[in-house]
Amino acid sequence: MAAKAELMDYDKALELFEPVLGFEVHVELNTKTKMFCGCANEFGSGANTNTCPTCLGLPGGLPQVNRQAIESSIRLGLALGCEIAETSRFARKNYFYPDTAKNFQTSQYDEPIAFNGQLTIELESGRQVTVDIERAHMEDDAGKLTHMGGAAGRIQGADYSLVDYNRGGVPLVEIVTQMIEGAEADAPEIGKTYVAAIREIVKALGVSNARMEEGNVRCDANVSLRPRGSNILGTRTETKNVNSLRSVERAVRYEIQRQAALLTAGGTITQETRHWHEDTGVTSAGRPKSDADDYRYFPEPDLVPVAPSRAWVEELRATLPEPPAARRKRLQADWGFVNLEFQDVVNSDLLDVLEATIAAGAPAQAARKWWTGEIARLANATGVSADSLVTPVQVAALIELITDGTLTDRLARQVLEGVIAGEGTPSEVVASRGLAVVSDDGALIAAIDQALASQPDVLAKIRDGKVQAAGAVIGAVMKAMRGQADAARVRELVLERAGTAPAESAE
């Protein structure tokens, strides 16, 4: 495993150097079929089952462009504030590697579909950072190599490698930023927040499943350091395939500390790719990468240029959802959540279900409380996502039953368990499990009278004005009712029976 390099204290590194960043984010589109053939774009199928002469790179195979992928790419480009090219071309990026069936990647070079965009992100401090997007271009994904024998699935020392071309030809959009300067100490957070923003956008657009753990969104992080007072850029490294938001943050921080230590010790940075090791939290050297890397790009002769009409682009622009950042601002205001409450919802990835729950009639705070509380707890315990347990409509119905007094919070938790166990809607669970609050005052009064009778000293205290003494009676009643009573109502009735509150007129 990669050894931890000499690191410089982060603050010290920032004192001596200015970090300069750049990100390449690959987004796997969730089209039904692959980028250039009719094979299914599916995760988890048997090895090499979603393949054909074209995506296997067999002699004679030819590509056909997936219209849906073009549409998704244009929408993504628009959502990133990009211009959409009037004509855009595919190009071949030539290099030999066994996971690349044709031994060239069909990508885009000098004529990308989208370019010149901007994305403004907001850091936790409230600092706004505008990231300039150089381009977003389309390309096909490579297959997946599994190295057998040898150590820990690595290519070095492997006896042989298996290759699965199911992912080969899956449509990708690669989003490339301009150089990000002025990040300063926020550099790691900028990395994390930028990737999170991309993920949020593609999810809102519905163009990708956006699951980083399945590789739907992958980030390559470029980091270089510029000595304070210098205007010459340092040599950069490119840490490949950083596949979680936290890892992006850690990898950027690590590279800053590593490069700073190396430079200060008189060393030089090698321009190279680096691997991120999630387990040990370090990067290790990959292959050298020079600006002169020669992929011998040339226009793909098997495809004609893509020329999206302006009318189509405008049609697609009209389908864009509200930008996620704007939506968050609006929802927080609508719901009246304080920052911490709202962050909790966002960080738990519960914004969509919360919105749906509120749309189904639940009060915002109650919806938040249930989703981030009990439901999240149950989800954590079973290792699944909260929204896979119950639906927003079910949660709204549950909250409604609490609001109308049918359920107490305690009973509602039992009903929730029933709903999760598949016993039906909250109302059905209430009925089948007999969990409704006893709201028949007759039954409650009988229990109260019995409790008062057995605790005459308490009754005397209440009548003396020591209202808090009623607690003992309420407890006894709740116990007798096996919890299926509304404690507030019981309290009302206790005081009434004790003669300190006016009897209801109906009696």
Partner: protein, 515 residues
């Protein structure tokens, strides 16, 4: 019984349709003849005798059952080995694909099967279609039926020789810089390179994607038209396939057989393709053909295409560049042969290198190296970029020429068939042999070669090349059929009837009499 192997495809189609002969009879006659002449000609890399007879029997049964079949149903056909076939090896003449049987049919193969033609086998070619002589086949050269010591042209020498030696009435070819037309010229047969995008390339093992085009190889213009109608038309699997609705090429060819078809047709002679380096007999037959055309009422004039002088140079940048990328997939990982390095570790990179070293021939390596160089950073603009500009200039030359004339003509090749080995040591001489055919590929326009006589000095066939504007393939067929009729009337026979009988059998010379 009628001599079946001498018949044109259209004649065979008639005999099959009216029940005079069965497809099994026709197929067996061709297979027998293949057996007899293949030791001399070596046009085929694979002969699928059993499959061909079984297919023929099925077609016969369906015809007997009264099913309505297509015009070429039951007619045998040979398939250039560059095309993927489900049931036959597809090697493109390369060692690296030895024994490889694709899991799919090329679109054109599927179309000939759907039209009930009978695939006889796969024909020889220069490796990956790189060459003008079939001497670059990894499986040995094909011999010209007119003179077994000479080349049959290339890359599609196998298809042309098969047709010229009466081993098949029809064949499929592919033409990147003349690979259908030049072999047709030197074997006395007919070959057509359709408009780029007119015929699907799906399943054609790519040489240069922007230049490759599949087309018919036959003995008559009408047969070529019949086959073109079967294989042509839009294919969604080929993104460069045109969506045009095409007129019937067969009807176009038939129109050419009517009286006066040449009257008033404006024929342009390309000044730049009618001069230096052309064999005297080639020039002579060309001049005679022009005279006949004029006499038949065509208006012959000279046009200039000043940028043609750059065509070969541009072609030999674009082709290797695209080929270097197209041929990258031959890496031993998924198909084809695998060769391990003699010593040292077995990394994927080293196995790929050893496989490509052993699997590719010298000409393929030469062009991969040239193309890799031409695409390299720092050289791209000077080489590939400039070549693409030349391509535009050549397209403009054609556009200007077609403003003045309906069709352009030239000799198909500067010389008749040369002897084996004659140009092997000098790649430039070999490349220059395609000087006449390359411009059509660079511009994407259709071209045809048909016989225009034998060169007096060597008695070998000379071809006339005809070119039309993009999408005007039908015009080629009308004109080609008319010229063919005009020349044959002038000679009093077909050109191929003058071919020497091949050693092992006299059957087609004795049984059916002269054609």
């Amino acid at each position: 019984m009628t001599n079946l192997i001498n018949q044109t495809a259209s004649a065979l189609a008639g005999l099959l349709a009216d029940g005079t002969v069965s497809s099994v009879d026709v197929t067996r006659a061709h297979l027998d003849h293949i057996d007899a002449v293949e030791p001399d000609v070596h046009a085929f890399l694979h002969v699928a005798s059993d499959a061909a007879l079984a297919t023929a029997a099925r077609v016969d049964a369906r015809r007997a059952a009264g099913e309505k079949l297509g015009p070429l149903a039951g007619v045998p056909i040979a398939i250039k080995d560059v095309l993927a076939t489900l049931d036959m090896p597809s090697t493109a003449g390369s060692k690296i694909l030895e024994g490889w049987i694709p899991p799919y049919d090329a679109t054109v193969v599927k179309r000939i099967r759907d039209a009930d033609l009978i695939p006889l086998g796969k024909t020889n070619m220069d490796e990956f279609a790189m060459g003008s002589s079939t001497e670059h086949s990894a499986y040995g050269p094909t011999h010209n039926p007119w003179d077994l010591d000479r080349i049959p042209g290339g890359s599609g020498g196998g298809s042309a020789a098969a047709v010229a030696a009466f081993e098949a009435p029809l064949a499929l070819g592919s033409d990147t810089g003349g690979s259908i037309r030049q072999p047709a010229a030197v074997t006395g047969s007919v070959g057509v390179k359709p408009t780029y995008g007119g015929v699907s390339r799906y399943g054609a093992i790519a040489l240069a994607s922007s230049l490759d085009q599949v087309g018919p190889v036959t003995r008559t213009v009408l047969d070529a038209a019949l086959l073109h109608d079967v294989i042509g038309g839009h294919d969604p699997l080929d993104s460069t396939s045109l969506t045009d609705v095409w007129p019937s090429m067969t009807a176009a060819a038939q129109a050419g057989l009517k009286d006066g078809a040449l009257k008033g047709v404006r024929v342009g002679v390309i000044k730049e393709l009618n001069g230096a380096g052309f064999q005297p007999g080639v020039k002579q037959r060309f001049e005679e053909t022009l005279a006949l055309l004029t006499a038949a009422g065509a208006i012959v004039s000279e046009v200039s295409a000043p940028n043609f002088e750059y065509a070969v140079s541009a072609y030999y940048l674009i082709l290797p560049a695209e080929a270097s990328s197209n041929l990258a997939r031959f890496d031993s990982v998924r198909f084809g042969i695998r060769v391990n390095p003699d010593d040292g570790p077995l990394t994927s990179e080293r196995v790929m290198a050893a496989t490509r070293d052993a699997g590719f021939g010298d000409e393929v390596k030469r062009r991969i190296i040239l193309g890799t160089y031409a695409l390299s950073a720092g050289y791209y603009d000077a080489y590939y970029g400039s070549a693409q500009k030349v391509r535009t200039l050549i397209q403009r030359d054609f556009a200007a020429a077609f403003d003045q004339v309906d069709l352009l003509v030239s000799p198909t090749a500067p010389t008749t068939a040369f002897k084996f080995g004659e140009k092997l040591a000098d790649p430039m001489a070999m490349y220059l042999n395609d000087i006449t055919t390359i411009p059509a590929n660079l511009a994407g326009i259709p071209g045809m070669s048909l016989p225009m006589g034998l060169a007096p000095e060597d008695g070998l066939p000379v071809g006339l090349q005809v070119m039309a504007p993009a999408r005007a393939d039908a015009r080629l067929y009308t004109f080609g059929a008319a010229v063919e009729q005009l020349l044959e009337a002038h000679w009093g026979h077909t050109l191929l009837s003058q071919a020497p009988a091949l050693a092992h059998t006299e059957m087609f010379a004795t049984e059916g009499g002269a054609v």
